[in-house]
């Protein structure tokens, strides 16, 4: 304990970048012709839980590996606790990593795995014992201390990997999709525990994931990445409610996209199902531009066609062609008379009594409609972005 505190105090952290701050300054990493990370700048505050979120190949893992020291940037600067780590090998950085496949040492017991980092720092034996026991208690694995690490289940190995990193009291903890291999129930449990641990310990967490639910449930801020750049950096509420681009809008949760052109009044999109009024319109768009209106399935109401149209809404008529029970919510797929389809999701407790084949009406409030420029894959794919595997965070 004491050694670590003095170590941290001795670091050349600056008043503007206190210990635990991570700064990437115009970082680029090329693999051959492709830029895995492209002129990326990012500041992670000390004690913050920041997620790098994006599909595979977006550069999030490369970014994390550069922080750990396994990859080296071709350009730009990386500072941890105010000090540039360019050229600093992984074993001299005050960061630890929880690896995707855990990477526990199979020839060591659980306790020996956790003790590994302390042994490298020549921490006295008695202190090693105490700190290893503490770290194992922290992840509720104390009773497994003398087991072989190969005798553990995935979830248990995950906890040991976490303890093995945390026992070193790093100023920054890097997590590379650490929950990816766990089954869903265990994953959701670990999400809560991780967040709790992070706020208890006050260590900066940089968490890499492709799972938007994971990012939304734990992060102070989320950096949504695309092709080596940060598409949007904001807290979960902002990312969810006010995405900067169609890409972010589609990646976080699900979206119905309706293509058309921005009307001359500039506050709606002309589409085959009428002029859709919108609350937020991309500032780069001018009248007559190709645009796409985005509406989240959870904001799309569905009512039997015979019922009166809900007040204050816009909508369209169609036929219910699909219905799926998702547990706490129901998902509906409606084929509109105009030819397109729309996805709707309603809480199970509030589910309308409709069945497949019924004539229905979908409706939404204009305040839930956002308009983005009509470029990108969403338009090419058609009217509605195909439903992705859902994650029930909302």
């Amino acid at each position: 304990m004491t050694t670590q505190v003095t170590l941290a105090a001795g670091k050349s952290s600056t008043p503007t970048e206190p210990s635990g701050t991570v700064v990437l300054d115009g970082v680029t990493r090329r693999f051959g012709e492709t830029k895995a990370v492209d002129n990326l700048s990012l500041r992670v505050e000390a004690g913050e839980f920041l997620s790098l979120l994006g599909p595979s190949g977006c550069g999030k893992t490369t970014t994390l590996r550069m922080l750990a020291g396994f990859e080296h940037p071709d350009g730009g600067d990386i500072r941890i606790s105010g000090t540039s780590v360019l050229g600093v090998p992984p074993y001299k950085r005050d960061v630890n990593t929880v690896f995707q496949a855990y990477a526990l040492f199979p020839h060591m017991s659980v306790a020996e795995n956790v003790a590994y980092g302390l042994r490298q720092k020549r921490v006295p034996r008695a202190e090693v014992r105490v700190r290893v026991a503490e770290a194992l208690e922290l992840v509720q694995m104390r009773s497994f201390a003398d087991r072989k690490s190969t005798q553990l289940s995935g979830g248990q190995q995950q906890r040991i990997a976490l303890a093995r990193a945390l026992v070193n009291k790093p100023s920054v903890l890097l997590l590379d999709e650490p929950l990816g291999a766990l089954d869903r129930q265990l994953r959701e449990e670990m999400q809560l525990e991780l967040k709790l641990l992070q706020s208890q310990l006050g260590i900066t967490f940089v968490f890499v994931t492709h799972d938007q639910g994971e990012a939304l449930s734990m992060s102070d801020r989320i950096a949504v990445m695309r092709e080596g750049r940060i598409e949007q950096l904001a807290d979960a509420d902002t990312i969810y409610a006010r995405p900067d681009s169609a890409y972010v809008a589609a990646f976080i949760g699900q979206q119905n996209f309706v293509v058309g052109t921005l009307t001359s009044s500039g506050d709606a999109v002309d589409t085959t199902i009428g002029a859709l009024k919108a609350a937020r319109i991309d500032s780069g768009l001018i009248s007559g531009d190709a645009a796409q209106a985005a509406i989240r399935p959870e904001f799309v109401r569905i009512t039997p066609a015979a019922e009166p149209k809900p007040t204050g809404t816009q909508g369209a008529d169609g036929t219910l062609i699909g219905l799926a029970h998702l547990g706490e919510s129901m998902q509906y797929l409606v084929q509109l008379d105009a030819g397109q389809s729309i996805l709707s999701r309603r809480p199970t407790a509030d589910a309308p009594s409709v069945s497949v084949g019924d004539a229905v009406r979908v409706s939404w409030k204009p305040e839930h409609v956002q308009v983005f420029p009509a470029d990108g894959a969403e338009v090419a794919a058609g009217f509605v972005r195909p439903p992705k595997t859902t994650h029930s965070h909302n």
Binding site: A68, P89, Y91, T97, F99, H107, L136, S143, D146, R164
Partner: protein, 294 residues
Amino acid sequence: MRSPRFALAIPAWAWLVLFFVVPVGYVIWFSFGYKPGIFGTHANDVLSFDRYVEALSPTFFQTFLNTLWVGLAGTALCLLIAFPVVYWMAVKVSPSKRGLLIALVMIPFWTNFLVRTIGWQVILAPEGWLSTGLNTIGVLDGPLEILYTRTAVLIGVVYNYLPLMILPLFVAFDRVGAPLREASKDLGAGPIATLARVTIPLARPGIIAGVLLVFIPLMGDYITATVLGGAKGNMVGQLVASQFQTAQNWALGSAMAVLLMLVIALSVAIGAVILWILSLPFRSAHRLVLGPES
């Protein structure tokens, strides 16, 4: 229900019995007999340990020691040379190029063992190109006098047996994998500490396999010693061969062969014990038993 599974092992058992247990049994049996006159090769009507006494005469004993020396030094040299090469191949080289490197290691192996060894005779000869070359650049004054010495045998042995060390070592190093090495470095261990505490302990079965694959056939090798060793570089393998082929004394040859087997088994056992004792302080330094919760 057990019989079908047992049936799968029958070819292996048959092979082992026919080509290992039975011949070794014959060799042991012959070793207690004697050579009956000029034209007989072996007789077992009188059994004794006399052939063993004969085999352990000072001349033979010297050859045994020489064989052990070549075996140990050759194995050690193979390990020392293979280790950095394999580390480089398994850790530093990109995976796509590893297949090519393995092929390059294997290609000399396709050439006949005897031809490869005779090749070294040409290189190491006092009037050979190595000798001439070294004289030309001034490293050496006078002919190279390595051929027909123990050094020449050692060079030939290392050349012939190196692939047998490289292959198992490479498989072992490769299987440790980058993630564990990265985890080690992430936890503050430098390259040396990572090698000592992660890579080598995990590659240990492969290192042991490589050492045994080189040491055991090398102890019985007689081609390399015959071609490159001359009179000074005698090995037991040559003695055994000459007893069977030239002297036609199968009894004495068998006794020598049995002694050679015993020496090999004993060397391996002693080596294992020494390694185990040497590793004791290292093990206790890294052991950590927390015991039940207090």
